[in-house]
């Protein structure tokens, strides 16, 4: 009877996965390889979408954003988790952990809205800092050259807290006797972190990078909302996902849109495969 109970428990998820994951993906792949008349189109949707004047800039934007964001994520999340673990008093540790996590509790779009206020010097609590940097208006803050950094900041603020808590949990799973042994051998806090803790966190870091990369290539809400808030001055057609959205609903071309989506899927899967094999992610300890 045991296997049957398992099937029942999993069934709900499988139905949703099929309805909102697998079927739409298959539908998207179908669109990517057919034309408007539903005939097989080979790779023509991919080449035509790549020749669009917005494609290369969008690719560049997403690439730059990923570099900034992933670097910040890996360095700061690991660093903050280590600091968090070093905190002496339990109460302080608990409070800081909670503070890190709060932004992650806001739903995606809502947390970006918070940033729209932060970035507008006329209403921002950080207006003094923005003026100090020479930005007096919202337009100056969101000028095109700043966008990659701004989006990385927003993404870090909304997404990093959850990862810090995960890393903290992983750090606590490192057997104490290993660390004790290192201490006895004369290792300081820095050496313990570098020689023991970070290597033992490797799989978690890889896991974080894979998921963050997949989410980062799909950058959409941040530029879309900034575009709306700046009345189109910044962030329109900024990312590949936005370009896909515009192809589908502005240029009325679902096929090009699907081609870009399939590209993003392929890139994410390929990068995940590289990371998984290189890091021996699935090896047993």
């Amino acid at each position: 009877m045991k296997p049957r109970a398992g099937h029942v428990f999993v069934a709900g998820y499988v139905v949703l996965l099929a309805a909102f994951g697998i079927v739409p993906t298959a539908y998207g792949i179908y669109f990517a390889f057919t034309n408007a008349a539903n005939y097989f189109a080979g790779l023509s949707n991919f080449t035509a979408a790549a020749r669009d004047f917005r494609y290369l800039p969008a690719l560049g934007h997403v690439g730059l954003y990923l570099v900034i964001w992933l670097a910040a994520l890996v360095i700061l999340v690991t660093g903050l988790a280590l600091v968090l673990q070093q905190l002496r008093t339990r109460r302080l540790g608990r409070t800081v952990r909670f503070l890190y996590y709060i932004p992650g509790a806001l739903a995606g779009a809502a947390s970006v809205l918070v940033w729209l206020f932060m970035l507008d010097p006329t209403v921002s609590p950080a207006a003094g800092l923005e003026r100090l940097l020479g930005y007096g208006t919202f337009g100056q803050v969101v000028e095109p050259g700043h966008l990659a950094v701004l989006f990385a900041m927003i993404a870090f603020w909304t997404g990093a807290g959850g990862w810090i808590v995960v890393m903290y949990g992983a750090l606590n799973n490192i057997p104490l006797d290993v660390i004790e042994a290192a201490r006895i051998d004369g290792a300081g806090g820095w050496q313990v972190a570098r020689r023991i803790q970070i290597p033992m966190l490797r799989k978690w870091i890889v896991y974080m990078v894979i998921l963050a990369f997949a989410a980062g290539t799909q950058l959409f809400i941040e530029p879309q909302l900034v575009s709306e808030a700046s009345l189109g001055v910044a962030g329109r057609d900024y990312s590949l996902n936005q370009l896909s959205y515009d192809f589908a609903f502005q240029n009325n071309n679902v096929n090009y849109a699907a081609a870009i989506s399939v590209e993003l899927l392929v890139i994410s899967v390929a990068v995940a495969a590289v990371f998984v094999t290189r890091s021996r992610f699935f090896d047993a300890d």
């Binding site: 739409p24 209403v123 001055v233 329109r236």
Partner: protein
């Protein structure tokens, strides 16, 4: 973008932003849902009369049931006024963003309904005056001058008011309001400082330089909006948006008609008597309140910018309107236009008779257009009544009726209504450069190539 919509939207940025976010998430979900629903064609037809080709299009089988109308928040009073006058008509009022700022909500939803085969609204208000560029070829809009709306009614709209509604001689929508550009000015300050209202652009430029010197901090105009080209470039007869066919456009923005206006704007921006903020930004309200000497802008600036507590909130008896300045030797007199909403009738409607009645009522009846509407009505008899109401309110320093009436017929017809959004292109191409101190003249070639690229992406043949 039109009318108070813009004011509303920009002032409470959150609403459209949230709508868009929900849309983004919803669109994905809807797309997934269509997988299940796609394939079954029409699901209407609850035993009503049979459809068929009539009035110039294939009509859906007619049935009874509530009339679904989509309006933006500023047009809710229109639907409510209709409901009040027709208590027996079942009406379902749906509020959406009105497609302002090229949000494409309507097009997005309609393309999804086209896939599922049902769900279209009966009547829609749109703040985008280029809506027909996709709606006609998508088969969404019904022609109105083939028997649905009497020609006596259509003939009463102001000259040129139905231009954005007309494709190949067929009228596919009714215009809600006109948004012709005039020169708004502070009559009290002009008199106090002994200035004459300029009638030509060179005079305007001279006065702008004088103001910069004699009264620093005051502005004679604003060039930081997405619709800046529709105020200045359109009025200057700049060939940025000359739609010559269903899928053909001529773009030529490096000619004197464009560069003369670009360099005028550059001169005044440099002198600091021309603001580069958006009139809908909080910074504009904060910095420019009480500092606006002149402001070229559409008819709806009166209610959205001047007589608006949340914006400039200019006191009663100070603001007046004059005809927009002209370039010497250029005739006939021409002005620009910023928006002016449209009402569309769905060709899929199963309640055509009721829908046409609604459409006609909200665009022509004084109970809405003269008494409640925030902008200048496109329907001429309603406009006369609306102007009389404005005069009664005593807000303006002078009677603005003759100026607005004259400007209504002077909108330069060389600027068309294409599928690509000129506002979005200007916003992304020119505004960021202005913010960082580049001149508009230096950005004209970039503007030219951006318009060309966007037009081509929408399948337009672009010539120079």
């Amino acid at each position: 973008m039109a009318l108070i919509t813009s004011a509303h939207r920009a002032r409470s940025r959150l609403r459209p932003v949230r709508a868009r976010a929900v849309l983004a998430v919803g669109a994905a979900a809807l797309l997934a849902a269509t997988v299940a629903a796609c394939g079954n064609g029409s699901s209407s037809g609850s035993g009503g009369s049979a459809g068929g080709a009539k009035n110039g299009f294939t009509q859906a089988p007619q049935s009874s049931g509530p009339l679904t109308v989509w309006v933006d928040s500023s047009r809710v009073p229109a639907a409510q006024a209709y409901q009040k006058a027709h208590p027996g008509v079942p009406l379902k009022i749906v509020t959406y963003d009105g497609d302002a700022n090229g949000s494409n909500t309507l097009q997005t939803k309609v393309s999804l309904y086209d896939r599922t085969g049902h769900g279209w609204p009966d009547v829609v208000f749109s703040a985008e005056s280029n809506e027909l560029s996709w709606a006609v070829s998508a088969g969404f809009t019904a022609p109105l001058n083939q028997g649905l709306v009497p020609s006596s009614v259509l003939g009463n709209f102001a000259t040129g008011a139905l231009n954005p509604c007309t494709v190949n001689g067929k009228v596919y929508c009714l215009r809600n309001d006109l948004a012709m550009v005039v020169l708004w000015y502070n009559a009290k300050l002009m008199k106090q400082w002994g200035y004459q209202v300029p009638t030509t652009w060179p005079q305007y430029e001279q006065l702008g330089l004088k103001v910069a010197q004699q009264h620093p901090g005051y502005i004679v105009g604003n060039a930081g909006d997405t619709f800046t080209p529709e105020i200045y470039m359109w009025a200057s007869q700049c060939q940025a948006n000359h739609i010559t066919g269903l899928r053909a456009v001529t773009v030529n923005v490096t000619t004197p008609n464009c560069s003369r206006m670009a360099s005028l704007l550059d001169t005044l921006v440099k002198a600091k008597s021309m603001s580069t903020l958006s009139v809908f930004s909080t910074a504009f309200d904060k910095n420019e309140k009480g500092k606006v000497l002149m402001l070229p802008g559409p008819a709806w600036f009166s209610g959205a910018i001047f007589d608006a507590p949340a914006a400039l909130n200019a006191p009663k008896g100070e603001i007046a309107a004059a005809p927009i300045p002209q370039w010497p030797g250029s005739s006939p007199a021409s002005t620009g236009n910023v928006g002016g909403g449209l009402w569309l009738l769905s060709a899929h409607s199963a309640h055509l008779k009721q829908a046409v009645d609604f459409l006609t009522w909200v665009t022509t009846n004084n109970a809405y257009q003269a008494d409640l509407a925030p902008g200048y009505p496109a329907y001429a008899p309603a406009a006369t009544a609306w102007l009389a109401n404005q005069a009664k309110s005593g807000y303006f320093a002078t009677d603005i009726s003759p100026v607005l009436q004259q400007a209504a017929g002077q909108v330069w017809p060389g600027w068309g209504y294409g599928q690509f959004s000129q506002e979005a292109i200007w916003a992304a191409t020119v505004v960021p450069g202005l913010t960082t101190g580049k001149t508009i003249v230096s950005m004209l070639p970039a503007w030219q190539s951006a318009i060309t690229s966007h037009a081509q992406a929408d399948g337009y043949q672009v010539s120079q």
